[in-house]
């Protein structure tokens, strides 16, 4: 059952509604949830950075191991060494937050430059960039990262640099596609014919007016990817090492107890991963639908 209704009985100019009013309610729900997660992540990051935690995440309390959630003083319980779960989860954000931002920055920055070169200049640039894109896409990401790990034993920032680089092709092709679309509509050509400086056309008309929403969307999806990558690597034992908490190594550490029926130590960080990644995904897709009008029909 679908319903449609006119906003008022008055006959007059029906002017365009602001974008949040014409958005699908589902998309709004997506974005609301996503923004909630983003706020939580940023707040937790700051709390962790300033050490505003209920407990020291390294504090071992052998009296109180494997406490279930809602234990007094430990809202989310404790792990197998009696460390406060909530504090560890909050501190775990440190493991991916700044590195993730780095990955996003690299992807957006390089991706935009390459996308503009390929789309706006075309020709040889396009050929070379397409080749590089194909080259990077030929590696399964995790394999490439394992290769880098084997070579350098790097820290998480270098790994995120690689994650960022592997995301460059996606951003570049989106920007390129948008530019080709605008070109096809003769929009860029009209600007050239008017005599606008190339810088204005690219920075203002193309990037600022027409690409900012796809870049924001890519940034949110990039964060989801960074979290996934960090947790996966920590799980594999290559990321953040114990005792410093990261969601990935918390799941790994808890896994030994999982098979014995003690679910909580690995389930809590897993749920944190689940709800956070879900938030970034929904935010990205919701914004895509609202800002790019993907669901308007």
């Amino acid at each position: 059952m679908k319903s449609y209704s006119q906003q008022s009985g008055e006959i007059g100019e029906f002017s365009d509604l602001p974008f949040w009013k014409k958005a699908n309610s589902v998309d709004l729900a997506y974005v609301t949830y996503g923004l909630l997660v983003v706020t939580l992540v940023i707040a937790s990051y700051l709390l962790g950075a300033f050490k505003l935690l209920p407990h020291d995440p390294q504090d071992i309390d052998l009296e109180l191991m494997m406490a279930p959630p809602l234990t007094p003083k430990h809202v989310l319980g404790t792990d197998f060494m009696g460390r406060d779960m909530l504090s560890r989860l909050v501190v775990g954000i440190q493991a991916y937050f700044l590195p993730g931002l780095l990955a996003i920055f690299i992807a957006l920055f390089l991706g935009t430059i390459l996308g503009v070169l390929a789309g706006y200049r075309g020709g040889k640039f396009d050929t070379v960039i397409t080749y590089l894109t194909n080259l990077i896409d030929s590696f399964p990401r995790l394999v490439l990262i394992l290769l880098v790990i084997a070579a350098f034993k790097p820290d998480i920032y270098v790994i995120m640099l690689v994650v960022g680089i592997t995301n460059v092709p996606a951003v570049a092709s989106l920007v390129k596609g948008k530019i080709l679309f605008l070109k096809q509509k003769n929009f860029i050509e009209a600007d050239i014919a008017l005599g606008l400086p190339t810088g204005t056309i690219i920075l203002k008309h193309i990037l600022w007016h027409n690409c900012r929403s796809i870049l924001i969307i890519q940034a949110t999806l990039g964060m989801a990817e960074a979290i996934l990558m960090e947790t996966s690597l920590s799980y594999l034992g290559f990321g953040v090492q114990e005792p410093t908490p990261s969601w990935g190594n918390m799941v790994l550490a808890g896994s030994n107890y999982f098979m014995k029926g003690q679910f909580w130590p690995s389930t809590a960080p897993a749920l944190a991963i689940l709800f956070t990644i879900l938030g970034f995904h929904l935010l990205g897709d919701g914004l895509n639908n609202i800002l790019e009008g993907k669901r308007d029909k």
Partner: protein, 319 residues
């Protein structure tokens, strides 16, 4: 297939293969570059911990071709690969190629199987919602797919293992050591886990729905409806077949990455687990070999896509 359709396929094959060669050259150069830039030289690991005289060390190095200039080393390595010699594992001493191929088969089965699982789940939801509009059922499936896509695959693996082994007692823990028919049976579990847990289901649903939705708006679909023909039949090629092959080609790298984790969780003797082990041991020849083989798999996926595209789209074959 008509004879006229074979020629364009051949052209595309030649073109894609030459492109693949070019890309593999790039891949090998990049792999080499990473290792060349790494601290120490690629083979110092081998010599670590052995008390040898300086002379003996350089002797071994010479024998391995390390004393050459960088391009000499690269050429030596690439020409070895072309002959099928990927070197030997530093840890086990076994030849890399046969090891990677042996484990690669397991990974290939895992990858393709889970792709199939993903598509079998995603396609019906996507197609239905594109052709009939979103209903309550498709909505709830879509939301569910988002949740599933955000699940960390290793944790999903634990749940499944716990449930099947501890509760139902159906599967043993040591998946890798099963043989014969049992092996295939045990493979189902990781395939299923990777299939739904690879984080791409929501994206696949979205892509398929968008593509199908776009095709449904095409003028020729309107014509098909106006003449009373089956819409599905007319929309199939552009709205389903082509996007599905595109998804397969695009998702292979992701799923290969996911396989690293799933193989780890299930203790499955595949290429991913081998890569993990090699990264632990800094076993360069192995991980180089795996990177190359993985790249070949990715390129094969894209080759498959191009061939299907040309076979389906008469316009492309005109080029």
């Amino acid at each position: 297939m008509k004879l006229t359709a074979i020629r364009p396929v051949g052209i595309v094959l030649v073109r894609e293969l030459s492109l693949t060669m070019l890309l593999l050259l790039g891949v090998s150069a990049l792999v080499f570059l990473i290792l060349y830039l790494s601290p120490g030289d690629p083979f110092s690991v081998l010599l670590e911990g052995q008390s040898l005289s300086e002379e003996a060390r350089s002797g071994i190095r010479q024998a391995m071709g390390i004393e050459r200039s960088w391009y000499g080393q690269y050429f030596h390595w690439v020409s070895g690969m072309v002959r099928g010699d990927f070197g030997a594992s530093v840890r086990t001493g076994l030849p890399v190629l046969s090891e990677v191929l042996r484990t690669g088969i397991n990974t290939l089965i895992l990858t393709l199987g889970s792709l199939l699982v993903t598509l079998l789940i995603a396609a019906p939801i996507a197609i239905r919602s594109a052709m009939r509009g979103m209903s309550k059922a498709t909505w709830s499936f879509t939301i569910l797919s988002y949740v599933i896509s955000a699940l960390p695959v290793f944790w999903l693996g634990y749940i499944v293992i716990y449930f099947f082994t501890h509760k139902l007692g159906l599967f043993p823990l040591a998946f890798g050591f099963a043989t014969g028919a049992k092996k295939w049976l045990y493979l189902l579990l990781p395939i299923f886990v990777l299939g739904i847990g690879n984080g791409t289901i929501s994206e696949v649903i979205r892509t398929l729905r968008e593509e199908m939705g776009r095709v449904m708006e095409e003028d020729y679909i309107r014509t098909a409806r106006a003449k009373g023909a089956s819409v599905w039949k007319h929309a199939f090629k552009e709205g389903f077949l082509i996007p599905v092959t595109e998804i397969i080609a695009a998702k292979i790298p992701f799923i290969l990455g996911g396989a690293v984790i799933v193989e780890q969780v299930f203790n499955w003797p595949g290429m991913g687990r081998m890569a993990w082990q090699a990264a632990q041991d800094r076993d360069y020849p192995v991980i180089m070999g795996i990177a190359i083989v993985a790249a070949v798999l990715v390129r094969l996926g894209s080759l498959f896509q191009s061939v299907v595209y040309v076979m389906v789209n008469p316009r492309a074959s005109k080029e």
